[in-house]
Amino acid sequence: MTQDFPALGLILLFPALGVLFNLFYGRRAGRGAVNLVGPGVIFLAFAVTLWGFVVLLGMPPGASLQCSLWPWIAAGSFHAELGLRLDALSAVMTLVVTGVGAFIHLYSAGYMAEDEDYARYFTYLNLFALSMLVLVLADNLLQMFIGWEGVGLCSYLLIAFWFDNPQYAYNGRKAFIVNRIGDLGFLLGIFTIVAALAQHGVWTLNFAAMQRHADLLQPVALAAALLLFFGATGKSAQIPLYVWLPDAMVGPTPVSALIHAATMVTAGVYMIARLNFLYTLAPAAMQVVATVGALTAFFAATIAIVQSDIKRVLAYSTISQIGYMMLGVGVGAFAAGVFHLMTHAFFKGLLFLCSGSVIHALHGEQDMNKMGGLRKKLPITYATMLIGTLAISAVPPFSGYFSKDLILEGAFASGHGWLWLIAVVTAGITSFYMFRLIFMTFHGQSRLEPEKAHHVHESPAVMAIPLIVLAGFSIIGGWVGLPEWLLWGDAFKRFLAPIVARPVTGALVQPGMMIEIHRFATGMTLSGVALAAGLIGIFLAWMLYIQHPELPPRIAERLRGLRELLWRKYYIDEIYDLLISRPLFWGSGNVLNKGIDRAVIDGIVDGAGATVEGGGEAARKIETGNVQHYAFVYLLGVVAVAGYYVYLVMR
């Protein structure tokens, strides 16, 4: 059941107006107006989303609201319309994007208070929100791609926001290029789907229509699913295309919170959940998604252990957590993946904002080795960051516990024992490095540089309020998805169920392997194991960084090789540099530039010129200027012509 709900257009209209205002009048209107309009439009969009959400709740399960905008492409039989669709899945995402986004916008007003380029900043930030909303509200794949590209562009613009630092500009380009590589996969996936559908006369990419004709997609399901997932690895920073995200941390911290934690990087998860009908047709592709997710989760978590830059720890943590979401959707627990996406948006957005608050207080210091003992000086930041850390460490009753638990449960229930084990171990590592971050930043002796120490101050209210709000959501946000046997049970899953209803079939789950986990005892055991892993991680961090702070350097010394491997991020950047960048540069420099462009192309062009010039040079020698030479040649011509006629007559 669908219902027209034109107000959905307002969700896009408000940020769009914000972009225009900040772009054209931001400078003239001044900081006050920009600080009002920039966050204000997102709050308005949030209000409209809430309205739509309430309407949606009043409708039967599986219903959706829609709003047709206008026809976009009409090429022969192929039609693409622009339209918005608010169903359970996009409602969750839209609430996250506008809700978390609004508070991050608000926080930005405080964070960027001393930056001269506030108008440009809010132009980009609003443009990002607009693109992200186009992505999540899209009712067809092509429109999703518009948003997909839009968020990539905004990500680039904001990573390189302080572009007068060449390193920052370079990191922005890196993010953009790596994303482009993924986008190619996404685009090829779209082409594959169009080709498959068009063979049977279905000329549309509308999600609902695609789902109706899912059987037509069967022949290309594996290829399309893998290609689209390759796009997702770029946008969502999964193996092999995650390398841009840690470097993206040079952008302003609210940008990291909004784009590189809460919203854009989860677009890949959202896309897979949105196309769940396609992915369930290709169990092998889902296997790939789950495996890549679990490996990424583990891999990134191990790197996070040794990082000393507070934002880089969070960046690797984000990669790791998105790995969890991929694991969730990959094992068919779509609702769990999206649930973790939502709770992650709360607590990771919060953690980034807290780190921003710390960095703000320390005037740009990001190295945790130069922090410590900030607990007393930054009480609000400390309290909220601790809540975020408990949430990501999956300690009940914080939100992360419920969502991570559902993913682990899904992995176990679908028979992915190994992936489940990896995920549990990763959960332990996660709580270890997160509490390491907390202890190094807020506890122990102050290692601040003396001239910075007495400037330390708690953030202003405009920054503290978003922290408190997000901390609240980090606590209660998970309560919509309680275990089945508790209170109202898993309301979130029931809400999403009609969208992702198709049971996982085929090779993914062998008959008889589906383990009954709705039993209280099994569920508790699984939760208990995961919780124990998390608590062990916390305990280890406490032992190493509070009780025996002299130990970590000694362990690092003992395991120098391992530490170096992790510190250098498994040398992945170096390997990519060696295997891809250098051959590319070498190839474009020596083969394409010297070999083809200069030798062949320039050779042809210069050769044409040289031939004409040389020919002219040779030919002008004929022109001696001596009239008798001309006369002689003329005579030869006459003799030749006369000779010809004589020959004709005599023959």
């Binding site: 002008r620 022109e623 200027g625 001596n626 008798q628 002689f632 005579l635």
Partner: protein, 100 residues
């Protein structure tokens, strides 16, 4: 009556002498004279052939040629005088401005 081949042979010889003069003499005036010689060699051939076929056409053309040759001589000599005034020479080898 003298055979036609005699006239034609004389005409060819005169023409060849004229051509040779034009090609190998360096003095522009002599080259000019040689051109006149070529013209008259042709005139001779025209008259002889016209008489041979019993037609007046050959003689009529010869008059035209003579008229044109007279005009041409006037113009040509004027050019030569003008060249000499400018270059102080009538040597064809030195009159080679129109070259690379």
């Amino acid at each position: 009556m003298t055979p036609i081949s005699y006239h034609m042979a004389l005409s060819a010889i005169l023409f060849a002498i004229g051509v040779t003069g034009v090609l190998i003499r360096r003095n522009v005036i002599v080259m000019f004279l040689s051109v006149e010689l070529m013209l008259n060699a042709v005139n001779l051939a025209l008259v002889a052939l016209g008489r041979r076929i019993g037609s007046m056409d050959g003689q009529v053309i010869v008059f035209f040629v003579m008229t044109v040759a007279a005009a041409e001589a006037a113009v040509g000599l004027a050019i030569i005088i003008s060249m000499f005034r400018n270059r102080e020479t009538v040597n064809a080898d030195e009159l080679n401005l129109l070259r690379w």
